[in-house]
Subunit: 329 residues, 2 copies
């Protein structure tokens, strides 16, 4: 169910860039639709400029394939994993799964970068550049084409809402009073690193012990429950479906823990709807969605009544539309 | 250290109303300063309109004392405890400590109100009315006169910040990207009802079991630790200062628990400064502030570096200036 993209409303050719911990994906589109796409493994060696150079090379390659000069691109939208830092007001990536200088030698990354510039080099080359963390970009996609809209052909984006990715990690994008929240360094939405319980032993990729992502993200299952024979999220859910009582109890715990975060952002931000996607959630949404809804409803009715939890309208494709949402009018 | 109020910048006479669970305080001010003040115990009997009628009577009384007709008031600002509900887009109070219909008979309130209208009746009587929850109003005061500004005579309000009241309850006001967050019913900032740990047995006034307010608010000390001889926050802190090891351990736990909420909102909203006030915090700030700062710094440096925790610039007077901040230009 790909959404109908109003390509004809693009004022000119655009590039959409998705930067993740394992791959960088680029597409160039114009009023006729997507014209070229390229994907590479994320650059992690060389100078700290290597990532920006890779993005430029992929964008220029796609532009060339589409018969365009790089300066023919009207806009470049970048949806990137975070966190970010600002250097002279421009966004650099400071993600411990890419920058070896942040991660430390134990992680074995082939670089010692403390950050990787993105916005400054892209602004030198392209006319207009917008960089957002991938939680914000996914939120923009769900507000434009997905579940964070009012119904019908004249639907409009909701004013008070969140998009939550439940995948290898936990990402969030937030909108309050019609304003998409960015924060001082563009890092608003890192609610996956909240503390919601006292379960103390799980280590998160970010270095936190016992935060939400450490407890419920896809890669947490093996770490927390591998010794009990649940080697990944898929096998855990398969055994829960087969009636394994312990597996079902773990699924309940994961949903309650994630549900607490949904409650926390609802109480803090007075939201009207939360859309949930991501690979862990999407494949198990029949089990997980009612549990998340029940956990939210269990708390403080004046704050949670009137806030729905729904499955992502763009389904497993939210990420594919995230960068595109940044360059649409 | 009352702030310098630029009374001469008021375009005309205003009324400031503070609605709490125990009292309603009203002041009328004009370009010469405060002209009249009145306080009464919060109306809790009669029809659901009793509270609005009380506010009107206090405002009109103050206006009369200042030699003004009620329609001579340019603006009325109301800082009220929450939560709120909207009726036809206008704010009504739905606080379980005032509305007996919400609290249930166990609470013993002398009314069965499900909500108490505020905004609609005040708008019928006065020219311009602004109602905000008290967390938001206190934030506005701290951004205008307190610690949530850049330094110096040309100081400006910070764009990414929070004000946290640590008192009988826990209240929060939030600002991101220069935008004060309100939410669908004006309830943004109820982060005091977040879940941050698994401590399971403490009951909050809101009905939640084990939320932040249930664990650390002033009235939680007797409930949680009364059996150990700590009958209120004051005696707990006095014994910690006298070297009681158990009391000090409890103080540490309270600060870590509150610090987790500060971390959670920082990670979620990418803040640059958090100002903390309220009676529990203010009297113990020498003990509590360094502990809160340490707890924030312990987590995820890319998100917490660059976010300061400071004591309220308006000190114990934040609440006194909250409603005034709503009617200043």
């Amino acid at each position: 169910m790909p959404p109908e993209i109003a390509w004809h409303r693009l004022a000119g050719p655009v590039a959409c860039v998705d930067v993740g911990g394992t791959k960088v994906a680029v597409a160039v589109a114009d009023r006729q639709g997507v014209r070229a796409q390229r994907t590479e493994a994320t650059a992690k060696s060389g100078t700290p400029m290597a990532l920006a150079e890779q993005i430029q090379s992929l964008v220029d390659g796609c532009a060339h394939e589409a018969g365009l000069a790089p300066d023919g691109l009207l806009r470049v939208g970048v949806s990137s994993c975070g966190p970010f830092v600002l250097s002279q007001g421009l966004i650099e990536l400071a993600a411990p799964n890419i920058c070896g200088g942040l991660a430390g030698p134990a992680r074995g990354l082939p670089n010692n970068w403390m950050s990787a510039p993105i916005e400054a080099p892209l602004r030198q080359r392209y006319r207009a550049v917008r960089v957002e963390n991938d939680g914000i970009a996914a939120l923009e996609a769900e507000r434009r084409w997905g579940a964070l809209r009012t119904q019908g052909a004249q639907g409009r984006a909701l004013s008070h809402c969140a998009y939550v990715t439940w995948s290898t990690g936990i990402g969030v994008g937030l909108c309050v009073d019609g304003h998409v929240l960015r924060g001082k360094n563009g890092n608003a939405g890192h609610a996956g690193h909240m503390y919601v319980t006292s379960h103390g032993d799980a280590l998160c990729g970010c270095g936190n012990v016992g935060d939400l992502e450490a407890l419920v993200a896809g890669n947490a299952v093996a770490r927390r429950f591998g010794a009990e024979g649940f080697t990944d999220a898929e096998s855990l859910f398969a055994q829960a479906r087969a009636g394994n009582v312990r597996a079902l109890a773990i699924v309940d715990e994961l949903a309650v823990t994630m549900g607490r975060m949904l409650y926390n952002i609802t109480a803090s931000l007075d939201l009207e709807r939360i859309s949930v996607g991501g690979s862990v959630f999407w494949h198990q949404r029949d089990l997980l969605l009612p549990r998340l809804q029940a956990e939210l409803a269990r708390h403080l009715p004046p704050l949670t009544r009137g806030c729905e939890v729904v499955a992502a309208g763009l389904g497993p494709q939210v990420g594919d539309y995230a960068a595109l949402a940044l360059v649409m009018d």
